[in-house]
Symmetry: D3
């Protein structure tokens, strides 16, 4: 279920189908998850989002597992259930162990706690932490 | 500046001073940043927060650099300027390169974008992403 | 389902019923949605909220469709599923096309992304963007 | 400083001045803080906001101090610096002690932490916690 | 349902069982709610979270009911459904009346509204609200 | 000021300079604001973000002014001061009147209020508001 329903592969336009093919090839899977089938109603957003994600989540200075864990961290902090579930699955596919997930959650919880202590106590930024550049 | 002002080392009670000593020893530094000097007005919170952070941020299944980057990810997502500045500094001390920071931010931005697309399009969680356990 | 259950029209006090009548008359419908039937347990909040919404969502410098889309934008950003569903329905009733919804979501996603890039990179406000007034 | 600048008492329209008078009388002070002087550019919002706050923050089932502390809790959680500063001042005026503020912050921090653990671990609501009503 | 499933008492390690016993003794109940049974997969987090909550939610300068209402306020503001349901139940157990809940929600709603007006109008903090301390 | 400082036009690489040229041409201005000069340290993010924004903010089913106001709505809701200031300036450039801004803010405030009432009262989505599609 989603606002406009899901666009299945067989019903997709050639434009959308090309993205679906790329998603499956890149991820080495034979299915498309609901997120893509939902935003496929807006092919421009589907294409832009997929291309951005491909670029951003590719191995680089950070490895794909670390990137997936950061994705989970943000999604948990924002309370996006779908994103938590899907990116936890992706992180596991990238090799995340249960122990790593647990430490990830502990950090996310702690950061959310101290973020509010800092605001509540109205703590000014230390000069040493300020950007030195103009 | 902070709500109750900063408690400097020389003015600290033995209880607070013991935590300050532990912070400096653990971090191999000779100064205490404003966050700790602000919440030191509540020694129970100071002690609990420091002990929790020590436990959570210690090397484990995730290395300290990864943990600091997750801390930055959450803080950027929440918009806590102090926490962004201080944990970016900590991450750099743990070896974060500029290239790593840039990729971190790209992931944080992307996750915040798709978190909202998911909510807006009212996307249901795929069965495959749901926890299998009872 | 909601914390105190729903107060149906037939069970409502004259005070609540008057608001229900006004909601149905204003919206030209013959039913009351769950939000109002839930907060009706607090007639003061029901009355204040309805009167505020009536005032705020009325046509003015902005037309009702634009206002409903802004409501959807905020609700998607906050992750309020009920509000997303109900105000997307209201926006459609005001004439929102599917194409407009898709562009709305694209902007909401993008804004959430750059909001975090700005915080993470610690970008200072340009002088030209600052309020000129004292 | 604020987007349209501040509307001072001497420059205010009779309509705005009447609200200012009511604010000062209700609060037993002789000044108006920047929030009101900023939104006074929109007299309808000024009036509606002031009347809502007056109704909501009045003594009732909860005393004014508890209400101000809840206001601080939400504002700290949302990271609204102005609101934290102004409502912490109001809470103190209502008698909030430093010890109370510290416990308030500890609860706010803790709630923000467990809110994310719950989301990250994808914890389902216990039947006993669900509303029993239809 | 939760990511790793629930650890029931009969299946718990002695370490986890000791915490469960403490939870039931402290709360004078004979059951453990899903949150604890979910994070029990990480005994260090279970222990740290329980001990922190015990310390923070104990009667002090604020009474337990006020603390539970603050917990509900933060959870409602963050949109954590589990936390709203469980802490509303806890608050009721501490004696929260329906009238108190309704006023609590009214304040939470109002604070969320003015938090955004302040940001949108770019309101500067009044000198009188700034911390006086260095 | 920003984490890595600003990359001015004269110091920019040809790659970055090409984006700067496009920004200035598109916006018909002769300057680059701090956001772009900050993320220019990551040319891939600069390029992707600029291209996405160009695509998303272009006139389409929604006009540019409506899009800028939605951007302001999200930014105010998230508390991103830079984004509020810069997109309020952009919206004005697109013709936003003061009256429109005030109504925009009123809607943003109201949506943030009812988003929390809905969550706090645990309101279930009406069947009529649910997506009808599979």
């Amino acid at each position: 279920m989603s606002l406009f329903g899901f666009i299945e592969y067989k019903d997709a336009s050639p434009e959308v189908r090309a993205i679906y093919d790329d998603i499956m090839a890149t991820r080495k899977t034979d299915w498309i998850n609901n997120f893509w089938k939902s935003i496929a109603h807006d092919p421009a957003t589907l294409k832009r989002t997929w291309e951005s994600i491909t670029q951003i989540m590719a191995p680089g200075a950070l490895d794909p597992l670390t990137k997936e864990m950061i994705y989970v961290a943000v999604s948990a902090s924002n309370g996006c259930e779908y994103c938590i579930a899907s990116h936890t699955a992706s992180a596991r596919k990238q090799g995340m162990t249960d122990a790593q997930f647990k430490e990830l959650m502990a950090v996310v919880g702690m950061a959310n706690e101290t973020n509010r202590l800092v605001k509540g106590y109205q703590v000014e930024i230390d000069d040493r932490f300020k950007p030195q550049t103009k």
